[in-house]
């Protein structure tokens, strides 16, 4: 399996993703699944700036990601698939049985959310979304960087 990490992180492509995970996993590509960024060349350029030239960055809409995931998974290089919210990765898992593990890497404070971990804030509806993923057999853990302990879903919901 080429995709080493399916991650939910509302900061999208940033240091923890590129350096924290990218270095130890030796990633060759990062897929950002985000309809808004997919539609904005300016935003794409900004996110590319933080990525070394040897790592390809692919910007995909959710529909494109559903269609192209098998192709990315067959890539010989290790890769990361990243989305900014639970709903996007949940939709991806519904359409692709290859997704068996999801990393909750960073969901920050907003009205309606409460703190579950230092880097995870969730509304009740978002908790239910994650629990539905787990009920379908997807392993959901929270872990901001590889050196931290992966926290099982039951411990933060």
């Amino acid at each position: 399996m080429s995709i080493k990490l399916f991650r939910i992180d509302d900061r999208l492509i940033h240091g923890q993703v590129v350096v924290g995970w990218g270095q130890p996993l030796h990633v060759g590509f990062i897929v950002l699944v985000d309809d808004a960024v997919r539609a904005s060349p300016v935003e794409q350029e900004l996110y590319r700036m933080g990525v070394p030239p040897h790592i390809d960055v692919i910007f995909a809409s959710l529909a494109e990601a559903v269609a192209q995931l098998p192709e990315w998974d067959a890539d010989p290089r290790p890769g990361i698939v990243l989305a900014g919210d639970i709903a996007t990765l949940a939709a991806l898992t519904e359409n692709c049985h290859r997704v068996t593990r999801i990393n909750v890497g960073g969901i920050h404070a907003r009205p309606g959310r409460s703190e579950r971990l230092r880097f995870v804030f969730l509304s009740d509806a978002e908790v239910e979304q994650l629990q539905r993923l787990a009920a379908r057999g997807v392993e959901v853990t929270a872990q901001d960087v590889p050196t931290a302990r992966p926290v099982p879903l039951a411990e933060f919901t």
Partner: protein, 126 residues
């Protein structure tokens, strides 16, 4: 320009605060910079902190890394605002230069600071 430029340092963790403390220690100037940390922030939260830090401007935003959430947030915030300019790769040398050139226009001050910061990066013989 009536108001001197404000410097807003946008960083991970407490880098911004530490740099400001160093500038004050060296120059005695205590009102040139405002720190912003991305700790616990998504983009909306970072925008709110930037708005508060910038005030009415003009300002130069100094970002720690040339990529990542601090940069994407700052550039998005500054887009379409000519009273703001952005510099990445903040270091102490560029901040020390900036302190004494806050009468410049934002873009000119940013370019000058970037040049000063670049000149400070060397590999002297030990």
């Amino acid at each position: 320009m009536s108001n001197p430029l404000r410097g807003v340092i946008v960083s991970h963790a407490a880098v911004a605060k530490a740099l400001i403390a160093a500038v004050e220690n060296i120059t005695g100037v205590s009102d040139a910079f405002v720190p912003v940390s991305n700790d616990g922030c998504d983009r909306d939260a970072l925008f709110r902190m930037l708005a508060e830090a910038v005030g009415e401007g003009p300002a130069v935003l100094f970002i720690d890394l040339p990529g990542g959430s601090c940069l994407t947030g700052a550039v998005s915030y500054a887009r379409g605002r000519p009273e703001l300019a952005v510099v990445t790769g903040v270091n102490l040398a560029m901040l020390l230069d900036f302190v004494f050139h806050r009468d410049l226009a934002p873009l000119a001050a940013a370019q000058r600071a970037a040049a000063a910061g670049s000149r400070a990066i060397r590999t002297p013989a030990a």
